[in-house]
Point group: C2
Chain length 313, copies 2
């Protein structure tokens, strides 16, 4: 058995106020846990930068919302907060970052329906290093392919048992889509609906930007920058990073828009990004082999968004 | 932590020719196993009756097919067979059945992509008692509701990354559909496609029967019995029990048919069943509150199918 490198585990346990630290080199889950046998549970991934967990409130809110969709009762947010703090502290003590710029910790919050026959969810925090590949893709950008998600944009409203707005542990399709994209020579995928809409990435939210120069009516030109994401009621996961970035962008004078978006909107954009809590803002260089905008425009707009995003707590 | 009642675990392990028996009262899975964190894996459930595992070849074939859809390399069938035998023997030694009629063991075969960062699947067998509720429903029958699966019948062919023909560990939607059905006062569900076809149950295959009396052309009447199931290329899981039963039914003079089926076909049938490897043949009394056939006809046809099914190896 290969040991996971540099992982800290903290289980939520009523007997331990700040969470129970567990040895990550040893088995810690029952083989009959319904997370392992049915993918029956929910999760969140967030990033701690220089010891500070980002967007904790948004992630805890979404975890609660996902749990509600699955009829799971989970511990209160303060319990999660204390366990998150424990995990980050333990991780940074055990594996100090060589420099502040590299001081990133991936923090996963996991909930399963618990052991078969019991009625108590299994809840834990996993802290691990941020993947080098993700950090690289923030710089180099990524190529993506469009993949059919099989659902229409009304399915989530019509059929709540499809759990479309919940971040469940049943991620086999998301992982299969990524493997399929890699086989096509791409780095990632963007899902589309059967009614032709742009949805989301398997582990990220889609953003696009348009930059226009308009006449201000008084004889001089003004630059209008617009940031657009697919509408939330199309059966996608509400993006915590997209939401936080939109707030910052609005304050900085960007116009904001919500879909519906079709693939042609991606090809027409000045820049497209996949945004998520760990890889953060990944500029999309090509969609299905077609270049998006120009390298200079992508670079400039990505730098602007990164600056806005750096201010997020 | 609640201990799972009467469970035997056998891990597939190259160091143990017949599988490695593990203590089911102790954690045996790494918390970073991608089965637990991503539902990334495949499984099978089969029944051992009086110590004899049923349809082992069909289940091992389907496990291989599911694993292939997920790009998982799994051990050879003989390795699985030996571990299955170990699990059944250990279980029956530890928990002897009070009578031959109760000598049923549920045998699950589980494969995950393994621990994060490793490249070796985690494979194990879980042996446990057959649920009393399932055995009861074979007798009493079940009420079901029709639930939209969100996909059309072409989605599986068009988008292999949706894994529609694979039995993956990502079963959160199947479990949510069952919870939804229970909240409606039903026992189970039948999924329908967005193009209006009958698909399958969350954990079972749909069967229906028509019984007709026809003139044989020579002045006397002949009874024609027809057994029908949805066509396999509609993105459903190929049912090992349906397949085995069809072979027996054909030999006994039944006519066989494959869909497309629409909900009206269920309402028009003389009997409908959900068939699966553990609960076996469960007659459907009502679909969306409408009675299927008559109690006498359901009972008679169910008895006939049970007799055919008893002969399955």
């Amino acid at each position: 058995m290969t040991l996971p490198a540099s992982t800290v585990l903290v289980f939520l346990d009523p007997a331990f106020e700040n969470g129970r630290v567990a040895d990550s080199s040893q088995p810690q889950l029952m083989a009959t846990d319904l997370g392992a046998t049915r993918g029956d549970g929910v999760f969140e991934s967030l990033l701690a930068v220089e010891g500070r967990a980002r967007k904790v409130q948004a992630h805890l809110n979404r975890l609660e919302s996902s749990a509600r969709a699955l009829d799971l009762n989970i511990p209160e947010q303060d319990v999660w907060r204390r366990a998150i703090d424990t995990a980050i502290t333990e991780f940074r003590d055990a594996f100090p970052a060589p420099s502040p710029a590299e001081d990133e910790v991936v923090v996963k919050l996991l909930v399963t329906r618990g052991v078969e026959g019991a009625s108590t969810p299994t809840c834990w925090i996993q802290a691990s290093p941020s993947p080098a590949g993700s950090r690289r893709q923030r710089e180099t950008g990524i190529d993506v392919v469009l993949l059919d998600r099989g659902f229409d944009t009304e399915a989530g409203d019509r059929a709540p048992w499809l759990l479309l707005g919940a971040k469940t542990l049943s991620y086999a399709v998301n992982m299969a889509a990524l493997r399929y994209a890699h086989k096509q020579g791409a780095d990632d995928a963007i899902f589309t609906s059967t009614d032709g809409r742009v949805l989301e990435g398997p582990t990220s939210t889609v953003l696009l930007a348009h930059v226009e120069t308009v006449d201000d009516g008084a004889g001089s030109a003004r630059t209008v920058k617009r940031l657009i994401t697919p509408q939330l009621d199309s059966g996608i996961l509400p993006g915590t990073s997209q939401d936080a970035l939109f707030a910052k962008a609005k304050a900085a004078g960007w116009e904001l828009g919500y879909g519906p978006l079709v693939p042609e909107d991606l090809f027409d954009a000045d820049a497209v990004w996949l945004i998520s809590s760990i890889r953060l803002i990944a500029p999309v260089n090509h969609v299905d082999g077609r270049e998006i905008g120009t390298p200079a425009m992508r670079k400039q707009l990505t730098a602007e968004l990164n600056e806005l995003f750096a201010g997020i707590e």
